[in-house]
Each structure stands twice: as structure tokens, then as C-alpha cells.
């Protein structure tokens, strides 16, 4: 591979170099012309966002306080009843516990694997281009295709996964991974980990390009082992980026939908139901529009503050380090 990748750091450098001179004070006429063109250029975007983002978002807030079932033109006002129903719904709590599993494993596994792979590629130096392409491809595939191919891999009779288990003598573990209530959630999660690790890898590899190699070498000479170098020398230097990826996977764990919907639809018998698929089925299969929306909005209300918090933490750290 001959192209070089625009790493966040090099982007930051060009930015720092480019943003040198602030424009001198403008005349009133210039300022007026600028404002006019600014409004004109921003207007189309604002219109599209208003109609297809803000309006439905505000509508979602409205739906929460009424009982809309898809047909009633004037849905009755129900106050907070959607929320109380939500809090009492055992299915919601079951789904929420699945989300928690998803958040925990779905964050730790791709971050650990992604970091490991990134450090290995970074420190071995050769064939970087190949590894980058290989690891990133899963992340680029549409979720439907991922769901289709992993459904074959997990197939009880002609799937590679069971075949592999048999090969290594673990025949007792073979099962119909997606059809077995004990394994459905983990099987889908495994697929998701496969798909996201490459993304984490790419971001961390880009961050590693800014790591001060002399510091690493110095610690090696001082007798620091590989693990010590990773945890005390390398990881602190890429911590802001590491936290940022953590945010993304955390929030992704709350709002996971596609991959579960495609692979199991939340089944069998709710075994892999997550909040997203549950909200979808309430709204579109049972016409509990308001209820489904309440759930979706609640998920967002939980995940956005977490994202903002980690984001702030990341901002603080990157200011300290002065880079990234």
C-alpha cells in the first residue's frame, strides 16, 4: 500500500499550521454580505434537518406523554403512564440486562483485541497495509450481509463453528448457536465483536503513530517488560483516543439494533432481546407507538450523558497531553 493515511495527529498539525492568521476586522458592508451569504448557504441544511430530524425528535417527546396507537388522530394524554409501565415491564428489564451484557463484553472485547492487534502491527512494522485492510473489511460490510454469513457459520449442522469445535475435540459444546436460548445473545455479540474490532484497531493504530518511540525504547533499556511498556508507557500516551473509542462502543451498546434484529429478531423467546428490538416490536408489531417511542427516548436519555461525560474526560486528558 502506497497511500499514507491522514492520521488525526497530522490533521491536527496541518490545522494548527493553517489556522494562523485571524481575519482582520471587517467593514460593516463585508460583515453584512457575509451574514447574508452565510444564511443562504446554511438554509438548505437547516430546512432538511428541521423536517427530518428536529420535527420527529420533538414529536417523539410528544408521543411519550400520550397514548398513540398509529390510528387515533387525537391520542389521549396519559402523563407519565408510559414511563411507569416501562418501569414495571419485566421484558424491559430483561432486555436491559442483555444491553448491560452487550455493553460490558461488547466494549471490553473489541478494545482489548483492537489494542492488542494495533500494538502488534505497530511494533512489527511490516505488512501494515495488508493487516489494515484485512481487519477493517468486517467493519465495512453491511449488517445484513454480516448477519447472513454468520448465520451459516453458526448453523447447527452445516456451520463452520460447530465443525471447528468438533475438530478440536469440543464436540460437547456444539449447539445451534442462534436457536439456543442459552447462547443466542452471546453468539450475536460474538459477531458484533468480530465486526467492530477492526474499527477499534484502525483508530488505535492511527493514535499509536504519535507515540513517542524514544520513551518506549528508554523504558525497554530500563528493563520494562512488554506488559509494563504497554500499560505504563504506550497506553497513557493514547489514552484520549482510547477513551473516545470506549465512548463509541458504550453508546453503541445501548442503541444496538440492526445486528440483533437481523440475526435473531430478539429470539428465541426473548433470549437475545435488547431494548432496541423490544422498542421496535412494541411500536411496529403491536402498534404501541407511544410505548416504543418512550423506550427509545429513554435509551437515548441514558446514553447521551454517558457519552458527554467520557467525552469531557477525553477533552481534559488531551489538553494535558497537548497532543491528539
Amino acid at each position: 500500500m502506497t497511500q499514507t493515511l491522514l492520521t488525526p495527529a497530522s490533521a491536527a498539525h496541518t490545522r494548527a499550521a493553517g489556522a494562523g492568521g485571524r481575519p482582520r476586522p471587517f467593514t460593516a458592508a463585508t460583515r453584512r454580505n457575509q451574514a447574508r451569504l452565510g444564511i443562504l448557504l446554511a438554509a438548505p441544511l437547516v430546512v432538511v434537518m428541521a423536517v427530518f430530524f428536529f420535527f420527529p425528535l420533538l414529536n417523539a417527546v410528544y408521543y411519550v406523554f400520550v397514548d398513540f396507537r398509529g390510528v387515533n388522530a387525537n391520542p389521549p394524554f396519559v402523563g407519565l403512564r408510559n414511563f411507569t409501565e416501562l418501569a414495571m415491564d419485566p421484558n424491559v428489564w430483561a432486555a436491559f440486562s442483555h444491553n448491560l451484557v452487550w455493553i460490558a463484553i461488547g466494549t471490553v472485547a473489541p478494545l482489548t483485541l483492537g489494542l492488542l492487534l494495533a500494538v502488534l502491527v505497530w511494533s512489527s512494522g511490516k505488512w501494515t497495509g495488508f493487516y489494515r485492510v484485512a481487519f477493517f473489511i468486517p467493519y465495512l460490510l453491511p449488517h445484513v450481509v454480516i448477519g447472513v454469513v454468520w448465520a451459516w457459520i453458526y448453523d447447527p449442522s452445516s456451520g463452520w463453528f460447530n465443525e471447528l469445535l468438533k475438530m478440536v475435540g469440543l464436540e460437547s459444546l456444539t449447539t445451534g448457536w442462534l436457536g439456543d436460548p442459552n447462547t443466542a445473545l452471546l453468539a450475536v455479540l460474538g459477531t458484533a465483536i468480530w465486526a467492530t474490532t477492526g474499527f477499534v484497531f484502525m483508530i488505535l493504530l492511527a493514535a499509536l503513530q504519535n507515540v513517542d518511540i524514544e520513551l518506549v525504547d528508554a523504558s525497554r533499556i530500563d528493563g520494562a517488560g512488554a506488559a509494563a511498556r504497554l500499560f505504563y508507557v504506550i497506553l497513557p500516551q493514547i489514552m484520549p483516543v482510547f477513551l473516545m473509542v470506549t465512548t463509541l462502543t458504550l453508546v453503541g451498546g445501548f442503541s444496538v439494533f440492526d445486528i440483533v434484529f437481523i440475526m435473531t429478531g430478539g429470539g428465541p423467546d426473548g433470549a437475545s432481546e435488547v431494548l432496541g428490538t423490544y422498542a421496535y416490536s412494541r411500536a411496529f408489531q403491536l402498534n404501541r407507538i407511544s410505548y416504543g417511542t418512550t423506550l427509545a427516548l429513554t435509551i437515548t436519555a441514558i446514553s447521551v450523558p454517558i457519552a458527554l461525560f467520557v467525552n469531557r474526560l477525553q477533552g481534559k486528558l488531551s489538553n494535558q497531553n497537548g497532543s491528539v
Binding site: 497511500q3 499514507t4 493515511l5 488525526p8 496541518t14 490545522r15 489556522a19 492568521g21 481575519p23 457575509q34 451574514a35 451569504l37 452565510g38 446554511a42 438548505p44 441544511l45 437547516v46 432538511v48 434537518m49 423536517v51 427530518f52 430530524f53 420527529p56 425528535l57 414529536n59 417523539a60 410528544y62 408521543y63 398509529g70 483485541l113 492487534l117 502488534l120 505497530w122 512489527s124 493487516y131 485492510v133 484485512a134 473489511i137 465495512l140 460490510l141 453491511p142 449488517h143 447472513v148 454469513v149 451459516w152 463452520w160 468480530w194 484502525m202 492511527a206 525504547d217 473509542v245 463509541l248 453508546v251 422498542a279 411496529f284 407507538i289 417511542t293 427509545a296 437515548t300 447521551v304
Partner: protein, 285 residues
């Protein structure tokens, strides 16, 4: 690309460590790529071979699955529909994000900060939050099952990121350029169109590739807003195929292959742009 290997001759111990590293990485690459190999291999096998020999990789060669998917399975239509949904929405995202990104970066107007912050809110709120009310809104507007409607929804899902992305590049451009053009008598529009715009061409390209991939891969938007299937794209077409009574794996693999070929081609040909889009998406978002 910064390499980090020192040019000291390898000691035997170092050579072993290095070999071990590559062994792990090659094993990981195999895991990453295996499902893709499985799709290609299954799509190109004869249908008898698919049934009788599910574990044979590239054990026979035939175009019959591709032909079935293309002619009988409706994938020739799905490809056209995918293009009809992904191309206009991508163009719209790039144009609207570029104009608005420029305005937010370099053209102060009253209320600019508030509007920009509201736009960036779109990066935080998942589509999922408002997809249900949007369905009823689209129904009310008569936009369900319409190319225009679905294109506009796809556009709106990409605008928050696009604007954020383009604004960053316009903000980086030196103010002297703008000043010089203004002194030479250029109008604000000319400064934008003739001076600044040509400088962000590669960023627009990266945004276009990134957005196209997102829209091509999008599943939920066509699933929800094309309920009658009039413009069913590859993703929901494949999903429909999956839900069929008897799943015929050969043509399904062929359909999956047809769906991902453009993605792979774009990625291999425009790796830098694709990665730049995805990385800055994460880093700036």
C-alpha cells in the same frame, strides 16, 4: 507511514518474537477475512456442491447462483434501487454539508452558534430515537415508499457528521487567502466558490465515499420507510430473501456478494478516503 522498527540486525530472540507477532496477526486476519471467503466461495459453487459439501471452500465453480440471484431473486432490480437511494442522497449530503460547513466556519451570521450546536446534536442522538415518529410523519406527508422521501431521510442522517467534517476543513484554511481575495474585489460568493471550495476538494471526496458506503449499507431506513418494497435496495432485499420459507444458500450467498462488491471495490480503490472518513468521524465525533 511511520515505521517503528530500528534498523539493528535482528538477534535470534528478536526474530522469534517477530515471527510470533506475525503468526498471531495472520491468524487474526484469517478470522477477519474468513466470512468474506465463505461468501465468495459459496456464491461461486454449484448448487449441488453447496448442499452436499458445505465445508468445501472453492470446491467447484459455477455462475448459476449469481444468475439465479440476478434474474430470479430480483437482485438486478435491487442494485438499481440501491443506486437510486445511495447516489442522490450522497450528493445532497456532500453539497449541503459543504455549503453549511463553510457558513459555520467562515461566515458569521446571527444565531450561527446555536444553529451549529443543534446540528451537532444530530451526532449524539441515534436515528433509532426518532425513527418511529418519523414513520408517521412520512406517512402524513405521503413520502412513504417514495424515492424522494427515503433519499431525504438518508440525507438527513448524514448531514450532522458531514457538516461537522466540512466545517473542520474550512476552519483550517488560512484567513489571509480570504483577505487577499477580498482586497482584490472578490464577492463573498466568489471567495467561497473560486478560492475556498477548490481547496477542500479532497475532503469532499472523502465525505462522498464515506457517505455513499453508509447509505449503500443502510438497512433500517429502507426497511421502515419503503414498507411496500417498491424501491427495495440490496440490504432489505437480502433480508427478505433470508426470511423466505426455504432458504436457498447458494443464491443468498450470491446476493450477499452482489451487495458487497461495490463496497469492496470502493474500499480497495479509495482506501485513503474511506479510512479518513471513518477515522475523522470517530475522532471528531
Amino acid at each position: 507511514m511511520a515505521t517503528t522498527i530500528d534498523k539493528v540486525p535482528l538477534t535470534p530472540r528478536k526474530a522469534i518474537v517477530l515471527t510470533g507477532k506475525h503468526a498471531v496477526l495472520i491468524a487474526a486476519s484469517l478470522i477477519a477475512l474468513f466470512p468474506l471467503l465463505l461468501i465468495v466461495s459459496t456464491a461461486l459453487k454449484t448448487s449441488d456442491d453447496v448442499m452436499l459439501n458445505p465445508f468445501g471452500l472453492f470446491s467447484s465453480f459455477s455462475m448459476e447462483n449469481l444468475e439465479t440471484a440476478w434474474n430470479v431473486g430480483g437482485f438486478s432490480n435491487y442494485v438499481v434501487n440501491s443506486l437510486l437511494l445511495a447516489v442522490p442522497s450522497t450528493l445532497l449530503v456532500v453539497v449541503l454539508s459543504t455549503t453549511a460547513g463553510y457558513a459555520f466556519a467562515r461566515l458569521p451570521f446571527p444565531g450561527r452558534k446555536i444553529v451549529f450546536n443543534l446540528v451537532v446534536l444530530g451526532l449524539l442522538v441515534p436515528f433509532f430515537t426518532y425513527m418511529i415518529p418519523l414513520y408517521f410523519q412520512m406517512r402524513g406527508m405521503g413520502l412513504l415508499n417514495s424515492l424522494v422521501g427515503v433519499n431525504l431521510v438518508l440525507t438527513s442522517t448524514g448531514l450532522a457528521f458531514g457538516t461537522f467534517f466540512m466545517k473542520a476543513f474550512f476552519s483550517d484554511l488560512p484567513g489571509e487567502l480570504e483577505e487577499a481575495a477580498r482586497i482584490d474585489g472578490a464577492s463573498e460568493w466568489q471567495i467561497f466558490a473560486r478560492v475556498m471550495l477548490p481547496l477542500v476538494g479532497s475532503s469532499m471526496g472523502a465525505l462522498a465515499v464515506f457517505t455513499f458506503l453508509q447509505n449503500w449499507n443502510n438497512f433500517l431506513v429502507p426497511l421502515l420507510y419503503i414498507p411496500n418494497g417498491s424501491f427495495r435496495p440490496l440490504t432489505t432485499g437480502l433480508y427478505l430473501f433470508l426470511g423466505g420459507r426455504s432458504v436457498d444458500i447458494g443464491p443468498l450467498a450470491a446476493g450477499a456478494l452482489i451487495t458487497i462488491v461495490p463496497v469492496m471495490v470502493l474500499f480497495i480503490a479509495l482506501q485513503r478516503q474511506v479510512m479518513q472518513g471513518f477515522l475523522s468521524g470517530a475522532v471528531k465525533g
